[in-house]
Symmetry: C2
Subunit: 311 residues, 2 copies
């Protein structure tokens, strides 16, 4: 993937996405003793950055492929994103969702015009269900994070952030499946000569942290985290990018995630989901290391069930 | 009060306030079948528009008056605003608060450097406590809503909104003490030849609605509303402005307030307090009347206790 391909991807999907605002907070800056720039993908269409990669992946299909529709499995935000992206382009979207996904996310998929197929909450069950749909309908499977067109699309959030703030020293992303942080790392590589990429990951689903240590893709032993968008694991397409470009992954506890989320809600008056709070929690935890730096933070999404909050 | 005075007020307080963003939502526009422009004072310093009036009122005092400090009584946001405005100008702020104010608001006053004096939650008790402080300290009493310098300051939110969107057909404000809607009405008078002002008010504290009918300031029989910023009543300085300039006050139930708040939270991913939701609830309730119009909405604040939400 090249700088030109990322630029072409951004031009392609631009009519379908928001160039989301970058917010700052004096209070949070003084708390961290640094300058933070929050790229607010919680204000993105379908409430998360995922629409970027979903739109790019669909637009890269041939007309014939598009006619047969697309299928994915997702614990939430990519499901909504693919449904909305497909709907806008008049394409059918089949969404395999684990039965324990938040109800608010399932309803959103239906609202956006996707067809929900429920499965057991295991990686095997959801892949099997998706494979079956591909077989029966001829739809193209689009992986939520381990797909080069998706990775490139997700990188456009970091691209926009760096266009607006070219002098960032670091960018923090949450790590789930690895698509966002891989795309962001590419954007930084292509558009900055010094910006480093850091990840935040829940201690309770720390596959990426362990993968960077072992040098191969590790699976999660448990995924018992409130950050429901980060329960997935890295893949063959994004792991090499992450291994080559991510400086460090900082792990945070469930309490640290909830406190970081509360701080953003109370001080910035914006709604971010627990997965987004993980990146900020990682900065809070090791703030001494980032003193006086200019820090970008990708606020990945804002899809929470307000009837079921951790406060 | 004149157009020039409002402009001078805005120039005076500009270094101390944010020109807050105006947000839109396609989904909400299609729901109302109109174009809505949300002036986001929840992103203002101290989390509400109140800092505008508080700053203006303090800056209009003489040096000697400033040395003796300021005192107010407030159920919440004006308390925080006056504390912060005074703190920035190195002035002492005494804040009389009803004992049933949300804890999160009391703590914020303390954080901003104000001194809290608790009293019983009645209008008489808080005026008595404030009078006593004036007598003992020589501090100047600044009313949260019934003070011409405060009214003018609050009008700068509407001024900024109309500068950015000069073609608004209507602006909606919540009505509590009347300072915001009176200031907004002045801003519209001075800067538009057709923009009309509407108020949203809780049915459970509908003094302003009844005051417009009877032609004199009515008191609240009960103030049993979740919109804690709107439990106060109109005053002698703002009522004549409201009487002359407010087209209509639309009353909303507690359920309507909470549903409007939920809709903004879920769809716009911003945190607004119940008092702010009252204006949007009023639009939702009578949306047929505002079809195809350009509607400004002052989102007055975002100070909620996340541990005590109505969802």
């Amino acid at each position: 993937m090249t700088k030109q391909e990322l630029k072409a991807c951004h031009d392609r999907i631009k009519p379908f996405i928001h160039n989301t605002p970058v917010l700052t907070s004096k209070l949070i800056n003084s708390l961290i003793n640094a300058e933070l720039f929050f790229k607010c993908e919680n204000f993105q269409s379908a409430g998360a950055y995922k629409i970027r990669g979903a739109t790019n992946a669909i637009m890269q299909l041939s007309k014939t492929e598009q006619q047969n529709g697309v299928v994915t499995h997702s614990s939430g935000n990519f499901a909504q994103a693919l449904s909305l992206a497909a709907n806008r382009l008049n394409i059918k979207a089949y969404i395999v969702m684990p039965s324990n996904s938040p109800k608010v996310k399932k309803n959103a998929v239906l609202e956006y015009g996707g067809e929900v197929i429920e499965c057991k909450p295991t990686i095997e069950a959801r892949q099997n269900a998706a494979d079956q749909i591909v077989k029966n309908t001829g739809a193209t499977f689009i992986h939520p994070s381990n797909d080069t067109d998706v990775i490139l699309g997700q990188g456009t959030a970091g691209l926009e952030l760096l266009v607006e703030h070219p002098d960032l020293d670091v960018i923090f992303c949450p790590i789930g499946g690895g698509g966002l942080i891989a795309g962001t790392a590419l954007a930084a590589n292509f558009n900055s000569n010094h910006c480093q990429i850091f990840g935040g990951e829940p201690l309770e689903a720390d596959d990426a942290y362990r993968s960077l240590i072992s040098g191969k893709i590790e699976t999660n032993v448990s995924t018992n985290t409130i950050a429901d968008g980060l329960r997935t694991q890295l893949g063959s397409h994004n792991f090499p990018i992450i291994k080559a470009n991510v400086k460090q992954i900082i792990r945070v506890s469930e309490t640290e995630i909830i406190e970081a989320m509360r701080l953003i809600w109370e001080r910035m008056k914006i709604i971010i989901e627990p997965s987004s709070a993980v990146a900020f929690a990682a900065i809070l935890k090791e703030k001494e290391k980032f003193k006086k730096q200019k820090i970008g933070v990708i606020i990945s999404g804002g899809n929470v069930d307000v009837n079921n909050l951790p406060f």
